[in-house]
Structures are given as C-alpha cells and as structure tokens.
Amino acid sequence: MAKDAITALERVRADRIVIPSSSCAITITQDYARLLAGDDEWRERALGLAERITPFTRFAAELARERATRGRPLGIRATYHDACQSANVLGVHDEPRALLRDVAGVELVEMAESSVCCGFGGTFSFEYPEVATRILDRKLANIAATGADVVIMDNPGCLTHLRGGIDARRGTTRVRLLAEVLWESLSPEA
C-alpha cells in the first residue's frame, strides 16, 4: 500500500508536493519510513519522497514571508482551530495565525483548548459516534465562547466534522479551510 503510493508519487514530475491535509502529509513523511524500516531500499525511497513534501500551511507561510504578500482584508472575526496533528506532530501554531492576520486581514479571537482534537479521528467518528459527539460538543462550546462568526483550520478531516456537527445542531458559525480564506483574500475577482 505504502509502496504503491511512493511509486506513484515518485512519478510526479514536480520539485515539491504540497498537501493540504496534515494527516496525509504525516502518513507519507513519517509513517511510511517507519512502516518500511525493515527494508533499506524502500525506507530510503520513503525518506527521499518525504523531502519533497510540504504541508500546505508551511508552504503558504514560506511563500507569504518571502514575498511579503498582502491580500484584500476580509474584515471577518474568526477563531483558529489547531488541527491536532498539525499542532502535535508538525508543531504548526504561529504560521496560520500570521497568514490570516497579515495576508487576509482576519481578526483572530483565540478559543480555549484550540489544539485539542475535534473528535473526527478518521473512521473513529463513525465507529464511536457517542464518544466523538461529546468531544465535538466541547470543541463547539469553545468555539461558541469566542463569539467568532467563522472557525478556520488547515485539515480537511476537522473541517468535515465541525461543519457537519454545526449543521446537525443548526448552528450558524461558518467553517472554512485556511486555503479557502486565503484564496478569497487573494483572488483577483471579488
């Protein structure tokens, strides 16, 4: 499985591969090498591939820094949810906040426990909905307490879980991926 993925990605003729999903980036850059630890050739290939991979948030922060990018200020009040793996494994914290504040002119309000998992956990939220719901409720309460209209994150798993959870509770807070918000600020047409 990992070998097929490595082979396919090696064929991609690009200097860098950007991944807008932290979990996928971590799986490819860290888990593959560990999974293939017993096989020197494949382990090397996994590590070689990992060097070309950048999580989207890091990549965007790098570009924005190099070019001092400024977009259209969006004038929204938002809170940032640190996707658990982005925060706990990749150590991403300041980059998305700087991007939102400096590039997209977003007013950020910090929520409590911003890096605590939202309860998605891949298939977890389908296998153990009762547990996932209680974790989600706590996250939603922390989001609501900020009074922000929008919650922003950099991982699609959280996005589907929070967006779905807010909809099922008939909430009004909008849930956006970091990339979407940045694109809205930078797209040529309003």
């Binding site: 499985m1 097929d4 993925a5 396919a8 064929r11 991609v12 003729r13 690009a14 200097d15 860098r16 591969i17 950007v18 991944i19 807008p20 999903s21 979990s23 996928c24 490819i28 860290q30 888990d31 965007a60 570009l63 070019r67 990018t69 658990c84 793996q85 706990n88 494994v89 605590v116 309860g119 998605f120 956990g121 298939t123 977890f124 939220s125 296998e127 153990y128 909905p129 547990v131 719901t133 974790i135 989600l136 706590r138 699609p156 798993g157 996005l159 589907t160 879980h161 967006r163 779905g164 909809d167 099922a168 991926l177 990339a179 979407e180 940045l182 694109w183 809205e184 930078l186 797209s187």
Partner: protein
Amino acid sequence: MREIDWTALRDDLTARKTAAIDDLPALVERFTEEAEAVGAKVYRAADAAEANRIVAAICRAKKAKLVVKSKSMATEEIGLTEHLEKHGVRAIETDLGEWIIQLAHERPSHLIAPAIHKTREEVAQLFAKVVGHPVPDDTASLVAVARAELRQYFLNADIGITGGNALIAETGTLLLVTNEGNADLATSVPPVHIAVVGIEKIVPTLDDAMAIVKLLARSGTGQKITAYTQLITGPSRSADIELKTQIGVHGPKELHFVLLDNGRSAMREDPAFRDALRCIRCGACSNVCPSYQVVGGHVFGHVYTGAIGLVVSPWHHGTDSVAYEQGMCLGCNACDTVCPVSIPLASLITEVRAKAVERIGLSLPKRVLLKQWSAPEAIDRVAGWLAILQGPFRHDGLVRVPFGAIAKEKSLPAISDRPLHFRAREVTQTNPSSPATRVALFPSCLVDRLIPEAGYAAARRSRRRTHRRRRRASPSSRPAWSIASSPRPGTPRRGSFRRWARRSTSSRDAAAAGSRS
C-alpha cells in the same frame, strides 16, 4: 515563580532512562548486589504467577494474615491482592483512591488517580457500608473515615507491600513517592516490607532518581514535588547500643524486593516498544487524551490505562487485553506532547492497532469501505452510488443523515459530483512555459471528493503567488502547478493500480500527474 525548562528536564530524563534500559541486565545485577549488601532480600520473577508465588511464600513463612498495601500498579498488573486472598491473606489498600475501588470491587481507572471515576456521593455510600452508619458526603468527612479505619490496619498488619517509583542500583535503594503518607506508614509500622517493582524502574544513580522526582509530580499532578518522598535502603537498623548493628528498630526487620519481568525483557528486545520501558507512570498521557476524558480508564486501557496502557498491556496481558480498546485512540498525538520521557505513544498505539486488527479483523463496514477506497476505479463507482443516494438529503454541500446515532452527531459532507481532479486543467492551463519550481498538489481523498472547492483554493491560492512573482521576476522563473494523481491507499490488485496510474497520466483532464508545462 521561576519557570522550569520543561524541554531540558524532559530531554535529560529521556537520556537517563534510555541509558538505564540499555544497561538493564547489568543494573539488575548491581541493584541485587547492593540491596543484599545492606540486608535486603532480592527475588526475580519472570512472570506474574512467579511474583505472586514469591509474595505468597513470604506471607506463609511469616504466618501473615493481614497485609497493608501502598498504591502499586505492578501489584495490580499481577493481580496480587486476589492471589493473596486465595491464600487466606487479607490485603488492604491504603491509598485513599485504591481503598475506594477495593471497596467497590473495581480496578483503577487512572494510573495515579485510581478512583477518578467515582463521585463523593458514591464514595460516601461505600464508606457507609464499612462503618455501618450513614457518612456525610463532604470530602473532609470521607477522608476522616478513611484515616480512622485504615489506621487500625496499619497498626495490626503483619506485612506492608509497596511498589516502587525507582530503584537505585548504586545503593540498592527504593524510591517511593506519595501525597497521603500511606507508604511511609506501610513501610515503617509492619515488621516486614515487600516491594514489588518492575525491572524497568532501575536507574544507575541517586542523581537519576532525582531526575525522576523532578518530573513525576510535575507531570502527574502539577506539583513541584510530592508531599512524601522516601528513600529506603535496607531494613531499619541502629548501632546506638555499644555500636553493634541491630536490624529492625522502629521500622521493618525484613525488606524483600520482588523484581518483576513479566514481558519487560521481551519489550526491551523490540526496537520500537523498548522506548515504552522509560515510562515513569505519571498518567499525563491520560490527562490530555480527549477520548480518555470521555470514556475513562475502564474502557481506555486494561490494568494500565490511558495511552501508555494501550502500549504496554499487550506485553503484560496479551494482545487481546486491548484488542478492542485500542480503537478508542483518535490518533491526535496529544499524549506525545506531554510524555516526560518522550515515548512515541501515538505511533506505538498504531503498531498495537495493526497487531489487534490481525487478530480480530476489521468490522464488515470498515473492511468493505477500505477495500473499495483502495482501488481507484472502485472509488469512482462508490462515489457515484453515494452521490445518487445522498440526493434527497443534500443541502449546501452537506447531507443530513435521517437515522442512527450519526444523525445527532453530525451531517456528512456531500460527495461532490465534480471532484478536484476533474479540474486539474483549470489550475495547470495558466502554468508558465519554463517554470522555476514545479509544484504538485496532492489533494487527499477528503479534499478531492468531499470539499474540492477547498483544494481548488489551495492550488489557486498558491497560483496567485506565482502571478505576483511573475510581475517582479522574469517570466521564466515562475513555478508551475499540477495536481498530483492521488495514490489512493494501495490496492489488492496491483495491476489495477498501474492501469489507473496510466490512465490518470494520459490525456484525460483528470489527476494530471506531473507538470504539463
């Protein structure tokens, strides 16, 4: 207050414990030698049964009827209390939390707060049965009951049994920490003291033990240090009368160590799980675990609870012990960030999960889903079915499920009829002819199928960067973009994957692999 340098303390303790585990066989020898030199007896137990036999034999030799125990996970691991009960020895837990769960006939739900799942009202009911009359349910009254009841056991016990927070090889010393002071009573009042300790607790020096002291309470309870921190080296002694050493004065006459292996040596041979032997049993990995917070330690773990419980239980209690419980881990990695000895808990849990799945298999829906999801043609097919099924329940990119537990939990993202890889050309058509950097976007299955607009934004957002750059630099220095053919998790039929890969790299406007510049 002076801030502590957490990272430095953690790196220091990690290095010390790693070195101790590396040198473990020699440290076991050294500890045995030094402890026996100061009058202790040291036994080695290969497994739980042998450890239980050794302790029961000492009890028999001492004609012991009553034993007081200080909180010890090692004795929970081997089921010592039940074993002694079978041999006619009554063992009373003296840690407040342990006593509560002993009265309730339960097992600890947390490494250092064993009765964290009980309310004070429940505790009052348990205590009322002990004293034979109702007990007020405020904490002070409850503690007063425990103090009065347990005192008589301390005074009448034939033997005190403890675990150990560390063993110091250079001096043959036992380190014990508590907040209640019960270990001090259990190790000083009865005439015999038995310590049952896992071999991984041995460290070379007193300095190493202090590195543990610095982090154990900080990680466990947020204290700088526990209220009671004991170092016990050999049995009680005095030379006050004519400078002749007499063993056993106020404290025990006998000190016995049972060094417990029970899977630890096997763990040490495993390159990945060896790291878990560094554990100092602080319980921090439970405290930060979102799933543990909801379900508690009776579900999340086995005898050992929380993240470390999922990791070590297979070695002490077999793969089956947490085969289902491992499913409670969300994979959020919060445990990794707080472990004071840097155990890679999350990835070790993934390994436990892999072994558990080999053993118990996957649930039918998961098996079907994963099988379909790992073959690209199948994804297209399944996505097609779902897109039709979701029709009536769809609104604003979401599907409100009309039934089941999921309905209350959340709405599901609708399957897009226009996955991101259908739009690859939109992104790539404006690529420069000779780019400086070629960047591919790996969309991930969720983005591709469920929220393609977000992936489109990710690609376009970075394209925008390239436009800006073009204005400043020469056109030839522009990066080119493409959307990588997402290699869906492998396929049982490798041929089909290759076919798909060929297809997706062909002229179809889907999943353009590689730059088209």
